[in-house]
């Protein structure tokens, strides 16, 4: 983002999005699998809401987010993406 556009809400949002993309790209593959597991659940939520059958989802345990696995480090990208919050809410519903 250039100095000239800093403070412009649209440019800031686009800059943030691009920064997030770069962060996602640089994540270790193990963390990317956690993101994919979340994407599968979000896609299935849309599928269910639109009356389509859900697809298989990777178990959380298989991507290192089982009940015995430690929660992601506070402030890490995995933490900021809200995966653990999603997971906690899912466990509470169950």
């Amino acid at each position: 983002m250039s100095e000239a556009t800093r403070g412009d809400p649209l440019q800031d949002a686009l800059g943030d999005k691009e920064f997030l993309r770069l962060e996602l790209r640089r994540m270790p593959i193990e963390d990317k699998l956690k993101v994919i597991a979340l994407m599968q659940r979000r896609s299935n939520a849309i599928r269910r809401a639109t009356g389509r059958p859900a697809r298989e989802e990777w178990p959380w345990e298989a991507v290192g987010l089982g009940e015995d696995d430690p929660p992601p480090e506070k402030g890490s990208l995995i933490d900021r993406l809200g995966i653990y919050d999603y997971l906690r809410a899912e466990r509470e519903r169950a």
């Binding site: 790209r25 994540m27 593959i29 699998l33 993101v35 994919i36 994407m39 298989e56 990777w58």
Partner: protein, 168 residues
């Protein structure tokens, strides 16, 4: 992922496959932001004496003996659906030239981004057209290598047409 790589490395070490490499969306995800997928694609080459008959049965038999369950076209390894695929000319070249990398401390091989892009140009399924721009956008994507692969496998015209569709 590490647990899967360990199983794959043991399978190669036991001579069930001569070589393997990760392809598909998971391979793309090594280079780009995570790409949604249902499974992990593993391309395999068999030992020379078994090349004449391409069957995944030895792989399935070996893994089932180790306690991994087959279900349809997948085999579940530590809870993750893994699909084993034989190679054709292009994916065979991708396997022969796959990048060496590590997952955790374990060595493994992943198709190069240039080969993955060429495979997408060849297949052109909707998901390939959706994923290709992310791959082409990776900083160290080598368009010279990509174009040489396309040329070698007769995909240059197919790429020219797709590029027009994607970018013009």
């Amino acid at each position: 992922m590490e647990a899967i790589i360990q199983v794959l490395n043991e399978m190669a070490g036991d001579g069930i496959v001569a070589d393997y490499a990760i392809g598909g969306a998971i391979a793309v995800s090594f280079y780009t932001e995570p790409q949604e997928t249902l499974d992990i694609d593993i391309f395999v080459a068999f030992p020379a004496e078994e090349q004449a008959v391409i069957s995944m049965q030895p792989v399935y038999d070996y893994l089932e003996k180790k306690g991994h369950k087959a279900s349809g076209e997948h085999i579940s390894i530590h809870g993750m659906p893994v699909q084993f695929l034989p190679t054709d000319e292009l994916t065979g070249d991708a396997l022969a030239n796959a990048e060496h990398t590590t997952v955790g401390d374990l060595p493994t091989r992943v198709f190069t981004k240039e080969h993955l892009a060429a495979i997408m140009v060849k297949l052109q399924r909707p998901k390939d057209r959706a994923r290709l721009p992310a791959l082409l956008d990776v900083d160290d994507f080598d368009s010279g290598v990509f174009e040489a692969i396309l040329e070698r496998f007769g995909l240059a015209e197919r790429w020219a047409a797709l590029r027009r569709r994607l970018y013009e």
